[in-house]
């Protein structure tokens, strides 16, 4: 039986993602864990997270999981979600300038205040709700229609240095990167575990992915 470890570093609720992974493929052994041995032994790793970047990086360093995640990212399929995606960049401007894991070179920036939509209404922050995702070719989009809507809730977004690592974008109101990919790493800003059918499909694709593209 293949196994997936959901990294638990005290940032946010992991029940939703664990339940969704189990629902996406009942034949996979899903473990929520903070134990490096369990994470190292898993076939795949999910790196979730909600909350503030400062607390997130602090927790990753305090627990020693920062290195475990870097190792996993270099050796097996890894899925970053929301804050877990942002933490994979070089740094984030949330709460000053916080150094992050630098798995993807680039920065995390805040949406500008006072942006308006086409009707002149002020856009709210956080960017919250279902937005369309424009995909670039990647096996994790298999069986997911182009421009499907996924559920987002965030105020910061990734700006990768290497544009070819951007594997999907959304508009708010300008296009921003909402998924990153290289080698066996895939990371999304939205919440697949809260994105109904298309989200479950993405998780299923990840659970069956051999890490190549």
């Amino acid at each position: 039986m293949s196994s997936v470890a959901v990294i638990d570093y005290g940032m946010g609720n992991l029940h939703s993602i664990a339940k969704a992974l189990q629902h996406a493929d009942a034949g996979v052994n899903v473990q929520i864990s903070a134990d490096p041995q369990v994470i190292n032994a898993a076939d795949r790793v999910v790196f979730p997270g909600v909350g503030a970047m400062r607390d997130c990086m602090q927790a990753l360093h305090d627990t020693g999981l920062a290195d475990v995640i870097r190792e996993a990212a270099a050796s097996k399929p890894l899925l970053g979600i929301c804050l877990g995606m942002q933490a994979l960049l070089s740094d984030s401007e949330e709460g000053g300038n916080i150094p992050c894991l630098n798995v993807f070179e680039g920065h995390v920036r805040r949406f500008s205040e006072h942006l308006t939509d086409k009707d002149g209404n002020t856009l709210k922050i956080p960017h919250m709700g279902w937005n369309q995702v424009k995909q670039q070719a990647h096996p994790l989009w298999d069986n997911i229609p182009q421009n499907s809507r996924f559920y987002f809730v965030h105020s910061y977004y990734a700006v990768p240095d290497h544009i070819e690592e951007s594997i999907a974008s959304s508009d708010y109101p300008q296009p921003f990167t909402c998924a990153l990919a290289k080698n066996q790493i895939f990371a999304v800003q939205f919440h697949p575990e809260k994105s109904q059918t298309v989200g479950l499909q993405l998780l299923k694709n990840f659970l069956h992915w051999n890490g190549r593209f």
Partner: protein
């Protein structure tokens, strides 16, 4: 291509059953919450909100079980409100599978609670629920006040100021209910909705008074809400969520279909 406006069906849950009253009285039984949540998910609800109106502390466990059951098979955002007074209440709901909690009276009695909750769990899961009633007389500039105890107790707090204060304290979203309209099926208080939506930079969910599909569209187009919440028009199968979305789309509103 942009962010869709959300439709959020609300389930008022009392001792494990979905109920709906008019202005908080005359409660009608509308069925099993898990079954109803499943149906809304299939019809394309963007989120689901549970409002626990159970009066006794002993029966609070019921809502936890409802959320657990729904969260294991419905993969869209779930919000739980009603009786959220402590950080432990929030933790319990999140552990049961809720994504957000609605804080109402506890915020009025102790605004610091909102700050603590947002610091502990993140603003993304803190929805501040505001029950407002119009207090200005005819001819005066419109003014709304916060009411507690199901709309019975005035607080003297101006609703627009309160919404902004709650944003500053860390609310990620405002759930705004007009106590004048709740249960009346005469439409949202659009002036109130617009006043609050334009005053705060966080998303606002309009609630209270939906009787037909035009009301939902008006909440977005005239009230400037980011999401609309309704209960009875969906429970009693007057309309499906999909019908509501098609109607809104025909009015030029972006929705998830």
């Amino acid at each position: 291509m942009s962010l869709a406006k959300r439709i959020i069906p609300c389930l008022d849950v009392d001792n494990g059953r979905v109920v709906k009253g008019v202005k908080f009285v005359d409660i009608r039984d509308a069925g099993d919450p898990v079954e109803i949540a499943r149906r809304y998910d299939r019809e394309g609800a963007d989120e689901i909100t549970f409002l626990d109106i159970t009066a006794t502390h002993d029966n609070r466990d019921t809502i936890v079980h409802v959320v657990e059951q729904v969260a294991s098979e419905v993969f869209i955002p779930l919000t739980v409100g009603g009786g959220i007074r402590t950080l432990e209440d929030i933790r319990r709901m999140l552990n049961a599978g809720a994504d957000k909690v609605g804080i109402n009276s506890a915020a009025v009695f102790n605004p610091e609670f909102v700050k603590l909750a947002a610091e502990k769990f993140g603003s993304q899961c803190i929805v501040v629920a505001i029950d407002a009633k119009k207090v200005s007389a005819a001819g005066e500039p419109e003014r709304w006040e916060i009411f507690t105890h199901g709309g019975r107790k005035p607080t003297g707090i101006n609703a627009v100021d309160w919404a902004e204060k709650m944003r500053v304290y860390g609310a990620g979203e405002i759930l705004l209910t007009s106590m004048d309209r709740d249960g009346t099926k005469s439409g949202f208080d659009l002036a109130l909705t617009r006043a609050i939506s334009e005053a705060v930079s966080i998303p606002v969910i309009a609630s209270g008074g939906v009787g037909n599909l035009d009301h939902l569209a008006d909440g977005i187009l005239l009230g400037k809400a980011d999401a609309v919440l309704a209960a009875s028009i969906f429970h009693f199968a007057e309309y499906t969520i999909e019908q509501a979305k098609l109607h809104m789309q025909a009015k030029g509103i972006e929705v998830r279909l």
